[in-house]
């Protein structure tokens, strides 16, 4: 059926062969074929064609302002890519985004893990707390962004608490300094997505077999040793999946930045998604944006493929 049944996870960067549909035979064959068809149509429409287009765009020099139709644009081959690679703002955005992802995910992981361990024992009202903890994940990003924006305003509750409980002289101007502004964004992301980590780790922990832990106990291991040598390694698979998924999502960060700082001050908090957005939709440099987009797509594919490797070997 599918001629190139590629066993690699995560798609191959450039979009390779389209799986063949089973033709013609009525009954089961037909059924089989038609079921996935709507989805495949959608994928073509929304995934494959746009990818081709973006590739094309990246290789031409075109901007809507030019007034010509896009298929008449002159070819510029790899010039756009050259521009991208030499664009400081681009690299800054990349580094910044990676930094944000790194810090945010690390925080989410640690806190989530701590919470998951904390929730291992029963306590009064545990179910209720579990429900409450889930809420941040469900809120629209924009609302989260809004909420945190408001909370970190000069006259907002955070500053109030800092002044009152920590004795600072004046409130902190969160949005004025790049590092602080980034911090607010990170905090918002952590607030929203730590529950995700918590849930995954919690259910992962719950699914671990008890026997080896008891065996370790009889062999004389302390709680900490058990955690380090038994629990964590067994959780490795789950942890990797969680990190990858959350990492990928975090990398796309856009809504929060848009709402909270708009990329500012200046471009100090601009994430890569925001930068591409600006390029393409505000400045209108679609070709340039396209080239950047392609680079990002390729890099993510490669990195994902690498990151997933450790998983593939476990049976």
């Amino acid at each position: 059926m599918a001629s190139r049944v590629d066993r690699r996870l995560g798609g191959g960067g450039k979009k390779p062969l389209f799986p063949r549909l089973v033709r013609g035979i009525k009954g089961e064959g037909f059924f089989r074929g038609i079921l996935p068809m709507p989805m495949q149509l959608l994928l073509w429409f929304l995934l494959i064609i746009p990818t081709l287009i973006v590739l094309y765009l990246s290789l031409v020099a075109w901007e809507p302002r030019m007034g010509t139709d896009w298929w008449q644009a002159p070819f510029a081959w790899f010039r756009n890519y050259g521009y991208v690679l030499s664009d400081v703002r681009f690299w800054q955005a990349i580094v910044r985004t990676i930094g944000v992802v790194g810090v945010a995910v690390a925080l989410e992981f640690s806190i989530g893990l701590g919470l998951a361990l904390f929730f291992q024992r029963d306590f009064f009202g545990k179910r209720l707390f579990t429900s409450v903890i889930l809420y941040p994940m469900m809120l629209p990003w924009v609302v989260v962004g809004l909420a945190f924006y408001l909370v970190f305003l000069e006259k907002g509750p955070v500053n109030y608490m800092l002044i009152h409980f920590l004795g600072l002289k004046t409130g902190v101007a969160w949005y004025h300094y790049p590092a602080l502004a980034l911090s607010t964004i990170i905090l918002a992301d952590v607030w929203q997505w730590t529950p995700f980590m918590f849930l995954i780790l919690y259910s992962g922990l719950g699914a671990l077999p008890r026997d080896p832990v008891e065996a370790a106990l009889t062999l004389g291991a302390s709680r900490w040793q058990i955690f380090r040598f038994i629990t964590m390694p067994m959780l490795k698979q789950v942890i990797i999946i969680a990190l990858i998924i959350r990492g990928l999502e975090a990398f796309k960060i856009f809504d929060l930045v848009f709402i909270m700082t708009g990329g500012g001050p200046g471009t100090a908090t601009e994430s890569i998604s925001l930068y591409i957005y600006r390029l393409g939709f505000v400045y209108g440099q679609l070709s340039y944006a396209a080239a950047m987009a392609v680079l990002i797509l390729v890099s993510i594919s490669i990195i994902t493929r690498l990151a997933v490797r450790p998983l593939e070997y476990e049976a």
Partner: protein, 300 residues
């Protein structure tokens, strides 16, 4: 992993009680942290303009008012002094209606398509190992990357700022979730039930609709609610592809934010309004949130 360490002896029992109590306190503290931003937004949404930036900030408004909410729908209405500031804005009814239309429709489409495809993948291994993972690429990559070409594409097709265009887009980008979540649920239906039906002479379509479907009803609902949350809260595509006609709630929220004017009250009010449907939906599917976000790779 509940090991009762309740030992005899008063001191030891006290220790456990203390342990329990401290856990409870800890959980409480965590909840407070979680709730703070939400509470703050709620609080502002009920405050009149003079209190928005009042210092020291209070949680309970001194003069609670619903004017912020009213102003959302009737910008010109001079209630509580807010109106004068916001009169140039548009009522949010349009955005609300759009969202109410687009999200459910896109959800329904996505879930249906995803369900059909999931069945094919689960029972017939359509697409081998490759195809299902391929669909994940829609979620792997930053949406902007797709938005760029899609803009061009859509413009040619005349789909910009249309509800249909947005619906198509949302459907396409959530099928991956639908597929994986439904696949998990369908995998959980034992095959022999279907095989029995086939032996009785049922056509594959019948089997699908009369046997499998009822059995995964719960999963279907969970997937639907999950996708609904995604669609309702989606921002980037809506931002790029809509302006006046097909504007959705998240975009509307962003309109209130920004350098031009600081209408915190109505902003907050809109935020609250925008959040209610998804909070409700989220509550209903709590158990399945993990399955959804991890594409069914981690089962609970």
């Amino acid at each position: 992993m509940n090991e009762e360490r309740s030992r005899e002896g008063r001191s030891k029992r006290f220790m456990t009680l203390l342990g329990q109590a401290s856990r409870w306190l800890g959980a409480l503290a965590i909840c407070l942290v979680i709730l703070l931003p939400v509470v703050w937004v709620l609080s502002i949404s009920f405050k009149p303009p003079q209190e928005w930036l009042a210092y020291p900030p209070t949680i309970i408004p001194v003069e609670a008012t619903s004017s912020n909410y009213i102003v959302l729908f009737q910008p010109g209405n001079p209630v509580g002094g807010v109106a004068t500031m916001v009169s140039s804005a548009e009522p949010v009814t349009k955005a609300l209606i759009n969202s109410l239309l687009i999200a459910p429709v896109a959800t329904a489409a996505s879930v249906t398509i995803g369900f059909l495809a999931a069945y094919a993948v689960s029972r017939y291994r359509v697409g081998g190992t490759f195809m299902p993972f391929f669909t994940l690429t829609t979620r792997m990559f930053p949406p902007v990357a797709f938005a760029v070409p899609l803009l061009v594409y859509y413009r040619t097709l005349g789909l910009i700022d249309t509800r249909l265009g947005l619906i198509l887009m949302y459907t396409g980008f959530t099928v991956a979730f639908s597929l994986w979540m439904m696949k998990g649920f369908i995998d959980g239906v034992p095959r022999h039930i279907e095989e029995a039906a086939v032996l009785d002479g049922a056509s594959p379509w019948r089997v699908l609709f009369t046997i499998t479907l009822p059995l995964v009803r719960g999963g279907l609902a969970a997937t639907a609610l999950f996708v609904f949350i995604l669609n309702w809260t989606e921002f980037l595509f809506a931002l790029v592809f809509t302006s006046r006609e097909a504007i959705t709630i998240p975009v509307q929220v962003s309109h209130y934010v920004g350098a031009v004017g600081r209408f915190y009250g109505p902003q907050a009010a809109l935020g609250v309004v925008a959040s209610i449907p998804v909070v409700v939906a989220g509550y209903l599917i709590q158990r399945h949130l993990v399955t959804g976000f991890t594409f069914g790779l981690v089962r609970e």
